[in-house]
Subunit: 135 residues, 2 copies
């Protein structure tokens, strides 16, 4: 895979390491987990650099950011079709789901209000099946 960043941005070794980590898994990474994981792999990167790298990679569309209910921004690899997130209050696990009706809701919204929709986030919380059974 050959990646070229726009303009003056460079795909530095640090940014490549971040991209490789996120791109090769289905996890929802936050900045600190990325820094720790890279450190554990002997590829330590300054935390500020991780934050900057994430911002750049997101702007370039190479990763995708989501904002869940805890204060942390999470990142997942780009290129998957759009999906929403279910978060279990008990175990914290994140499950992805999607439904075709969502597109219709967005269409309806922009038709009614005249707004231009750039993005959206649908976060559902509750108790996942395995936690429900376990309790």
């Amino acid at each position: 895979m050959i990646i070229v960043l726009n303009m003056k941005r460079r795909l530095t070794p640090q940014r490549e390491a971040i991209l490789e980590l996120i791109g090769s898994s289905d996890r929802h990474w936050d900045a600190e987990s990325i820094a720790k994981m890279l450190a554990r792999k002997g590829r330590a990167i300054g935390l500020a650099t991780v934050y900057r790298g994430l911002a750049v990679l997101e702007e370039e569309g190479l990763i995708h950011a989501i904002q869940l209910t805890d204060g942390k921004k999470r990142y997942e690899r780009a290129g998957k079709e759009h999906h929403d997130h279910f978060i279990c209050k008990l175990c914290g696990s994140i499950t992805e789901f999607s439904h075709p009706a969502e597109a219709r809701i967005l269409e309806h919204l922009s038709r009614e209000t005249g707004a231009v929709v750039h993005g959206h986030e649908f976060v559902v919380f509750g108790v996942c099946a395995s936690c429900r059974e376990a309790s």
Copy 2:
């Protein structure tokens, strides 16, 4: 309106002031705005007390919390039928909307995954009609 909080929680004058402020408007309040507004009204309340009050009032179901994309938690009065939020990236305005298909998505999710859904949040961002026209 008579309000009785459960158990050991008390509806103190401070909490009543917060509830009255949120309940009598359709704004989406963050903690600091509440503190400032009450201070301007000559009813100043410690910021920590505002945060604690908001948490208590939310637990009691008297106000409703939403988490938008900026780091701040917002609160709106409870009792309105459920709705979602559209945020304009340019002017920051928040528009409420709703669509019946949403319920179907949630039903589908819990049927498919076996999860119990407690709540959800659908946040859409883009450019509102008036900002679009102005630019």
